[in-house]
């Protein structure tokens, strides 16, 4: 028996564990299964996004990307309808997702650009960007994207990286026995939510929670929500010099999104959606303006009848924003066509 000295033995043991993790992380997967892996959560819209990109031949000319405020605030079918009346018969999608984190929007954009060439990508922004990446990023991003930290100070990086071997092993096995992992074997048109999916309607999350978007909230309830929301907002800590680190998720991935759009010939624009009574000042406005125009829908912030809760518009508010937005998008599409 060849006994190995303990110091080297401990290093070998840890090395084998690390090597096993690295090998597992390299296992191939089926992207459709990956995008369907959050089917039973609030992020169940991811599966529809993948299906809309890959299995639905309807055109995608204008794509809205952003957090849940974008989902509640922009009705893709309504914008599409309004653009058509303005002489722009284009396909509009809203690929927004609940919760903040620009890294996942970049993943969605990349997936879309791998198959489609939209004319215009509208990125929804809020008054102050998140300091963290999206919690669903580690489940959905391709393995090489998870390995890439993107910027110094990525606070989610280690947690995302540690998850990767398990995810890949699971997805790898799911290719051979999808039912055992509760994942689809292939696209099922019967389960597809359709081309004209409207994210501004009330919906039920994958874990069975109904999110109501067709209600008008009493002002007192909204004001109480504002107090709670503002209590949780933290102003910048590190100052402008380190903004690329403190708000690295926003800045690094907006740069990447802009670069990817440019490479594909797509135009970028930003849409600001406020919370109820929220400020009109956009912390990163000048940064965004370096990549495209900022369309400011701040006018809705004083309309309590437009909100279903403190940060999300109701369907009525979404229609107001969509009707206001369509002519501006038409103008941007004109600019794009003129080039």
């Amino acid at each position: 028996m060849n006994i190995i000295p303990w110091r080297r033995g401990v290093l070998i043991m840890l090395g084998v564990a690390l090597l096993s993790a690295a090998l597992a992380a390299c296992l191939p997967d089926t992207p459709y299964q990956r995008w369907s892996s959050l089917e039973k959560t609030i992020q169940n819209r991811l599966r529809w996004i993948y299906e809309r990109i890959h299995y639905d031949p309807a055109p995608i000319d204008v794509a809205v990307l952003g957090p849940s405020r974008a989902g509640a605030g922009v009705s893709a079918p309504r914008v599409q309808e309004q653009l058509a009346t303005l002489g722009k018969p284009v396909g509009v999608v809203n690929f927004s997702l609940p919760e903040n984190g620009r890294d996942l929007h970049w993943v969605v954009e990349n997936e879309m650009l791998s198959k489609r060439s939209p004319k215009l990508i509208v990125i929804v922004v809020i008054e102050k960007p998140s300091r963290y990446g999206h919690p669903a990023y580690k489940y959905i991003a391709p393995a090489d994207a998870v390995v890439d930290p993107a910027y110094i100070g990525n606070l989610n990086y280690l947690a995302n990286l540690i998850y990767l071997p398990y995810r890949q092993l699971r997805l790898f096995a799911a290719q051979f026995a999808p039912a055992a992992f509760d994942l689809p074997a292939s696209f099922d048109p019967a389960r597809y939510a359709g081309t004209a999916y409207d994210s501004t309607n009330s919906f039920v999350t994958g874990d069975g929670i109904r999110v109501e978007r067709n209600r008008i909230v009493p002002v007192a309830e909204l004001e109480a929500g504002v107090k709670r929301y503002e209590k949780g907002v933290r102003p910048p800590i590190l100052g402008p010099r380190f903004a690329d680190q403190e708000f690295g998720d926003e800045r690094a991935y907006i740069r990447r999104m802009a670069a990817a759009a440019q490479a594909r010939g797509s135009k970028i624009a930003f849409l600001f959606l406020p919370y109820y009574t929220g400020p009109r000042v956009i912390q990163e406005r000048s940064f965004y303006e370096g990549f495209g125009p900022v369309l400011d829908a701040g006018f809705v912030s004083t309309h309590p009848e437009y909100f279903s809760d403190v940060a999300h518009l109701n369907h009525q508010g979404a229609l107001a924003v969509s009707d206001w937005l369509a002519p501006q998008l038409a103008a941007l599409l004109d600019e794009k066509d003129a080039r």
Binding site: M1, I4, L14, S20, A24, A180
Partner: protein, 521 residues
């Protein structure tokens, strides 16, 4: 902070090892201080508001222990006894307040038909464990078995994070000499390596087996306790699944604790030694949660048993009379205490009573067998030890008794437990074709693997026997050898296997960190 969490594995543990050994290479006192502070931080991570309670308990028991030792050294037995009583009243009172006050108040109120209620008292993490450790220290001090030490050594002994939350419940004489020897705080790669392998085995047991079984238990218990007829199989699958989960969860935790202690150069005592392979209930309890068992035996059973035996002798009791007073009565009280120690609830009380009855029956059986052996010897016949089918029968009876007890332990009420027993007994109808909730490849394969590991393979300390894996390993080295013999060695294959097991154990944490069952106590 859970041992099976990333913040522990990739944050706290490396930091604690680095701090202890980096500082320990220059100053042992510094290493102890660092490890004590980190251990207190480990405790506070869960609920910082209860840290003052732990700190208060440490300061109080150090002070009282000192007074007892002074009195013992000065041969002032009365003073030592007075301080010991004071210390025990405070410790047990504190435990009683936090753990049992709501239960007593609720039941008194219900019994007296009043609406009086006591505000809900949050149970401080690990209070049952650290209180028992302190009680043992005070009693050891009064017996002259615990010697004076610095406050820092006592604090580290009391707060040492591997054993702090759910044991093993340690004694002064086991731990303090290890903390005060000159090598403590000096890096020893063998200790780190052996500790890492033991930790890995525990992590594997917890995350691969216990956590896989965990989501099946609740639906199985609900179905088996429900009003319909879930079928006899559902009842037995529920009891088996929970028994396996409980064993792999708690023994896995204990392995992790022992492994972590070893990484810091401290050997902790064993807490499990293949208890589900026991052929009688007394043996089961010697090998299940061993440090609780020995605590109860040393500080409750023996102090009760000795005067009761004296009483029996004074009253001239012999045979079954002597057995009832001297053995059955203290056994009964001891196991009722064990039941109640687990929690404030009628199900725990009944669980304790069940095991008390089991133990009494077992002791009576043993007594009867002893008498028979004597009688046969007089006739020149030797009574053979049980073997073959007879022995297999004892194993089965013991396992079934344990499983019935575990049903009571896990059930939400006595009524539910009785209902599940009814299902197991087929009283709701046999219906062998009834659908068992969750019974699919995952549950079947995991259960079979669990059963095979228990029945045939060596346990953690047997696998690691080359490296004196626990403080009291020598006492158990020859007990309950496994059918399959295999020991681990730091060869390339052994290290590779351990590395892969570590990877799988860590990877399976990603399914969701299930809290250890014994964290509730």
């Amino acid at each position: 902070m859970l041992f099976n969490s990333f913040v522990f594995l990739f944050g706290f543990l490396p930091l604690a090892l680095l701090a202890t050994y980096a500082i320990g290479s220059r100053s042992q006192t510094g290493a102890k201080l660092a490890l004590t502070i980190l251990s207190l931080g480990f405790y506070a991570w869960w609920r910082p508001v209860h840290l003052p309670l732990l700190l208060g308990s440490i300061v109080f028991n150090y002070f009282v222990g000192d007074r007892i030792q002074d009195a013992h050294d000065a041969k002032r037995a009365g003073v030592a006894k007075a301080w010991l009583s004071f210390g025990l009243i405070v410790d047990i009172g504190l435990l009683g307040w936090f753990k049992y006050a709501n239960f007593v108040a609720d039941n008194l109120s219900a019994g007296l038909g009043t609406n009086w209620t006591l505000e809900r008292i949050a149970l401080p993490l690990a209070i049952s464990f650290f209180t028992f450790q302190k009680i043992a220290y005070l009693i050891d001090s009064a017996r002259g078995e615990a010697r004076r030490m610095s406050f820092l050594d006592f604090s580290l002994f009391a707060a040492f994070f591997p054993q702090l939350i759910a044991g093993p419940i340690v004694h002064y004489k086991e731990i303090v000499p290890q903390l005060t020897r000159p090598t403590f705080g000096k890096i020893n790669w063998e200790d780190i390596g052996v500790g890492l392998v033991i930790f890995t085995i525990g992590l594997f047991k917890k995350t691969i087996i216990a956590d896989t079984l965990s989501p099946f238990v609740e639906p199985l218990f609900s179905a088996a306790a429900g009003p319909g007829n879930p079928g006899i199989i559902a009842g037995w699958v529920a009891a088996t699944t929970f028994t396996l989960q409980l064993y792999f969860d708690f023994s896995g935790y204990s392995d992790m604790a022992i492994g972590l202690g070893r990484m810091f150069g401290v050997k902790l005592p064993l807490n499990f030694h293949s208890p589900l392979r026991a052929a009688n209930i007394s043996d089961y309890w010697r090998r299940w949660h061993m440090t609780l068992q020995r605590f109860i035996v040393a500080y409750i059973f023996q102090p009760l048993s000795m005067p009761l035996n004296r009483l029996a002798a004074e009253r001239g009791l012999t045979g079954w009379g002597q057995f009832t007073v001297g053995v059955a009565l203290p056994s009964f009280i001891t196991f009722v205490v064990i039941g109640v120690w687990h929690g404030a609830g009628w199900t725990f009380l009944v669980f304790g009573i069940m095991h008390a009855v089991y133990i009494c029956i077992n002791e009576a059986w043993r007594e009867r067998r002893k008498n028979r052996r004597k009688a046969l010897r007089k006739q020149g016949i030797k009574l053979a030890d049980p073997a073959g089918f007879e022995l297999a029968g004892y194993h089965i009876i013991t396992l079934v008794a344990v499983m019935l007890g575990n049903v009571m332990f896990r059930a939400t009420s006595i009524g539910d437990a009785v209902s599940i027993w009814g299902t197991m007994a087929g009283l709701k109808g046999l219906d062998l074709a009834a659908t068992v909730p969750g019974l699919g490849p995952e549950l079947i394969v995991t259960s079979l693997v669990g059963v095979a590991l228990i029945a045939f393979t060596p346990n953690t300390q047997q696998i690691m026997q080359r490296f004196d894996p626990a403080y009291n390993w020598s006492e158990w080295a020859d007990v309950a050898p496994s059918r399959l013999r295999w020991t681990w060695a730091p060869t390339l294959a052994g290290l590779g296997l351990a590395g892969v097991a570590l990877f799988i154990g860590v990877m399976f944490i990603q399914r969701g960190q299930a809290v250890f069952l014994y964290f509730n106590f």
